[in-house]
Amino acid sequence: MQKKHYFDIKWAVILVIVAFLLVFQVFPLLYLVYRSFFSTGKFSLEGFSRIYTYEMNWSCLKNTIITAGFAMIFGVILAFPLAWLVGRTNLYGKKFFRFLFVTTYMVPPYVGAMAWLRLLNPKVGTLNVFIKNLLHLSENPFNIYSIWGLVWVLTTFYYPYAFITISRAMEKMDPSLEEASRISGASPLKTLFTVTLPLMMPSIVAAALLVFVAAASCYGIPSIIGAPGQLYTVTTRIMDYVSVGSQQGLTDATVLAVFLMAIALLVLYISNFVVGKKDYITVSGKSTRPNIVDLGKWRIPITILVSIFALIVVIIPFATVFMTSFTTNMGKSLFAPGNFTLKFWNTALTRKSILGSTKNSVISAVWAATLGMIVCLVMAYLLKRTNVKGKAVPDFLITVGSGTPSVVIALALIMTMSGRFGVNIYNTIFIMIVAYMIKYMLMGMRTVVSAFSQVSPSLEEAAQISGAGWLRRLKDVLFPLIIPSIVAGWFLIFMPCFYELTMSNLLYSTDTKTLGVELFTYQTYHSQQTASALAGGILIMVIGLNVILDKVTKGKFSI
C-alpha cells in the first residue's frame, strides 16, 4: 500500500480530539470566568461585591476550606500508614484490605453520607446509642450534623484517593533504596522517616491536594449532612443559587463557582509544577524484588488495628445501608418482629421511573467511558510516542478538567451549550456525557499513560519496520499489550459516571434523569429505605465489577 503523500491518519484523529477538548471544555470554562466579570455585558465587579459582602457566603467559603482542609489532613494521616502497611509489610490480609479501600473509592460518596446519618444521628444514631450504652454516657457522644461530622464523612470517603495515589508511588519505588538504608545501620522505623517518607513526599503532597479538591467540590455529602444542620458549603450554596432559576441566581452561582475554580487551579498548579518537579520516583533503579518489612511482634496488633479501622470506616457503613434497605420502621431495630421487608428492594428493582433512570445512567456512563477511553488512548499516544511540540497540552487539559469542581463544569456547560453559541445539547443526554468525560477522563488517562510507559517503543517500531501502518500497529502490538489497562481505565471512568450526582443534578431533564439524581431525591424527599435499596444495588454492582476488574488486570489494580 504505497502512497505518494504519507498522510498519517493519526494526525487527523489527534486534531479531532483536541478540537473536542477546546470546544467542550476550554471554551465553556473560559466563558464561565468571563461571565462572572461581564454578567451585564460590561465589565463589572458588581456580582463579586454582592456575593462576597453577604455574610452567609463567607461562612460557606469558610466551611468549605475548613472541612476540605481537615479531610485532607486526616485523609493523608490515614492513607500513608495504610499504604505502607498494605504495600510494604507482612500485614495479614493485605490483599483484602487493599480491596476494601479501593472499593470505597468506587462507592458513591453520598451513600456513605446516608449511612453515617443513620449511625451518628444525634438522637437515634445506632452507633451513638451503642457507644453511649457501652461507656454509660449520659448523652450521645457524636452529632453528625456538625462541621466535624462533615469532616468525618468527607475523610472516610476521600482518604482512598490518597491511599491509591500513595500506594502507586510506593509500588514504583525501588525497594533497594530502603535496603541500602537498613544495611547502613538504620532501623526500619528510621528508614521509614529518612528514606521512604522523603521519597514519597511529592506523592503525599499530590495525594493531599487531590483529597482537598475532591472534598471541596463535593456536593452529595454536604447536602445530605450539612443541610439538616444548617451547614452550608460553596457547592450547596451554588446549587441553591442555580435552583432559584433566575438570571441573577445563575450569575451569583457563577461568581461563587469562580472561587472554587480558582482554588482548584491553584492546587493543580502547586501539585503539577511545584511538587511535580521534585518527583524522584522516576529516578529509580530496575530492581523490582518486593521488599517486605517484617512487623515482628507488632504484626498481630497492627493487623487488629487495621481491621478495626476497616470495620468502622468501610464495613459498618456499608452494612448499615443494607440493613436500612430491609427495615420497615427505621425507628426500630431491623430484627424487631415484622420489621423486615423486601418491599423497598422490590420498588428499587421494578419501579418504572427508577428503571428508566438506571437505563439513562448506564447509557451515558457507557458512552462517556468508551469515548473517554478513545480520547485517553490517542492522547496518551501523543504524549508518549510522538515528539510534537505541545504534546503535553491535552494531558494538561484533561488534568485541569478533572481538577475542576463538578458544579463548575456543569454550570459552564449550561451557559455555553444551551443554544447561545449555536450548540444546544441542554436537556439531552449528550451534555451529561460531555460533562462526565471532562470530569472523569483523568483516571483513564493516568492508567493508559502508565501502561504506555511500560511498553517499550521498540516493540512498536519493530512492527513499523515490518511494514505495519499506524492503526495496524495499534491493533497488533500496542493494544494487546495494554488491554488490561484499557479495561481498567474504562471501568474507572464508567463507575463514577454511573452514579454521578452533582453534575447530573444540574443537567438532567425529565427524560434524562439519572440514577444518582433518583437516589438523591428518594433520600431527601421520599423514602430513605428505597434510597438505601438503590445504594445497596450500586454497592453490589461496584463490588462485583471490582472483582471482575481484579481478575482482568490480574490483581494489579492499575489505578
Binding site: 541500602a180 544495611i183 533503579g285
Partner: protein, 356 residues
C-alpha cells in the same frame, strides 16, 4: 576482616528450592566471587548474608556469631556490612555527600568526624568534586561509585557487591574492576562479589564459586577453575570450549561418528565427552591428531578465529594470526590437540547447545 560461615543453608520461595545445601566458609580478607548464570541464586545467597532474606534451613555466622538461624535473626542494620546494590540504590533526595555520610549519621558520629571520613572516602572513589551534586546529575558510573563510597565509609569488615558493574560500559567496567580490587587490598576487607561475568570473576577473585541452579559446581582459584573445570558446566561457563562425544578405550578415545581418535592415557572407559578449549588446538597443513575441513575464518587481529568441520561436529579453533594468510576456507587441515579434558557422557546435550 571477618569470617563468614554458611552452614547447611537452603532457601525456598514457596515450594521452589532456589538454593540447595550450601556449606562454606569465607576467610578473612578474602575476595570471594559467586559466579553463575542469571537466576542461579547468587543474589539470594548475598541477601541471606546481608539479612534481607532468612534461610529456610541452616545457619549463617559472621566471625563465629550466629546472625541467621532457626532461632536467631540479626536484622541487616545490626550486621555492620557494606553493600552495593545492583541498581545502586543511591537516594535521589540526598546529594552525594549526604548519601555517603548516612551510615555515619546513623552511628551518631560528630559532624567534623563525618566530614573528614566522607571526604576521605570520596577521594578514594574519585568523587571529591561531586560532593554537592544530586544523584540525578550523575552518570551511571558516578552513581555506582557513590554506592561504593557509602558501602565503605563506615569501614565495614565485610563488603557485599551484587553485579555492581553490570550497568557500566566496557571501559568504565575495566577501571572500576581495578579500583574495587585496589580498595579491597588496601582495606583488607572480606568481599563477596556476585557476577555473571567470568572476566570479572577471573581478574579479581581469590576464590570463585561457580553456581548453577542453586548448586555449587566448583570452588577454587580462578586459574584452577579454568584449567581443571570440575564438570562440563564449569568448563563451558568459564571460558570457551568444544565438546566432542567419544568412546574411551585403553590408550585412546575414538571420536563418535568418524574413524578418528586421539591418544588418551586416563582411566575412564566407555561413553565420554571431550572438552577442548579453542586456544588449545593448533592448526597445521601437515598431519595432526585429528583431521577436518576448514569451514570459516575470522581475522581478529591478534588471533585467527576458525571453525573446522570434524565429521559432523564443528570445532572452534583459536589459531595463530598468521595462519590467516596461509590457509584457505575449504582446506583440509590437521589439528594438534595440546590438551583436553574428559568427562563421562551423561547424555545431556545442553552444554553443546549453548556453544553453537
Amino acid at each position: 576482616m571477618s569470617v563468614i560461615t554458611i552452614d547447611h543453608v537452603t532457601k525456598s520461595f514457596g515450594n521452589v528450592e532456589v538454593l540447595k545445601e550450601f556449606t562454606q566458609e569465607f576467610q578473612d580478607g578474602e575476595f570471594i566471587t559467586l559466579l553463575g548464570p542469571s537466576g542461579c541464586g547468587k543474589t539470594t545467597m548475598l541477601r541471606i548474608i546481608a539479612g534481607f532474606e532468612k534461610p529456610t534451613t541452616g545457619e549463617v555466622r559472621i566471625d563465629g556469631k550466629v546472625v541467621s538461624s532457626k532461632d536467631v535473626f540479626v536484622p541487616p542494620e545490626k550486621r555492620e556490612i557494606g553493600m552495593v546494590f545492583q541498581s545502586y540504590a543511591v537516594w535521589p533526595h540526598m546529594n552525594v555527600f549526604d548519601n555517603v555520610a548516612y551510615p555515619l549519621k546513623i552511628k551518631r558520629m560528630p559532624k567534623n568526624v563525618i566530614r573528614e571520613k566522607v571526604e576521605g572516602i570520596l577521594e578514594v572513589v574519585h568523587l571529591s568534586q561531586y560532593a554537592d551534586r544530586m544523584p540525578s546529575q550523575l552518570s551511571g558510573g558516578q552513581q555506582q561509585r557513590v554506592a561504593l563510597g557509602r558501602a565503605l565509609v563506615a569501614e565495614p569488615k565485610l563488603l557485599l557487591l551484587d553485579e555492581p558493574l553490570s550497568n557500566l560500559d566496557a571501559k568504565l567496567r575495566e577501571s572500576m574492576r581495578y579500583e574495587i580490587k585496589e580498595i579491597q587490598r588496601k582495606l583488607g576487607i572480606t568481599v563477596v562479589y556476585v557476577t555473571h561475568d567470568q572476566i570479572e570473576a577471573m581478574t579479581m577473585s581469590d576464590r570463585v564459586y561457580i553456581i548453577n541452579r542453586g548448586v555449587i559446581q566448583q570452588v577454587g582459584h580462578p586459574i584452577e577453575i579454568y584449567r581443571h573445570p570440575a564438570n562440563q558446566f564449569v568448563a563451558d561457563f568459564v571460558g570457551k570450549v568444544n565438546f566432542i562425544k567419544g568412546l574411551a578405550e585403553a590408550g585412546r578415545i575414538r571420536i563418535k561418528g568418524i574413524d578418528q581418535s586421539v591418544k588418551y592415557d586416563g582411566e575412564m572407559r566407555g561413553d565420554v565427552v571431550l572438552a577442548i578449549r579453542p586456544e588449545n588446538i593448533e592448526l597445521t597443513s601437515a598431519e595432526g591428531h585429528l583431521t577436518g575441513i576448514l569451514s570459516s575464518m575470522y581475522y581478529l587481529g591478534d588471533v585467527n578465529d576458525c571453525r573446522v568441520e570434524v565429521g559432523d561436529t564443528t570445532l572452534r579453533v583459536t589459531a595463530d594470526a598468521h595462519t590467516y594468510d596461509t590457509l584457505r576456507v575449504g582446506d583440509k587441515v590437521g589439528l594438534i590437540i595440546d590438551s583436553f579434558l574428559v568427562y563421562p557422557d551423561d547424555g545431556n546435550d545442553d552444554y553443546n547447545k549453548i556453544l553453537t
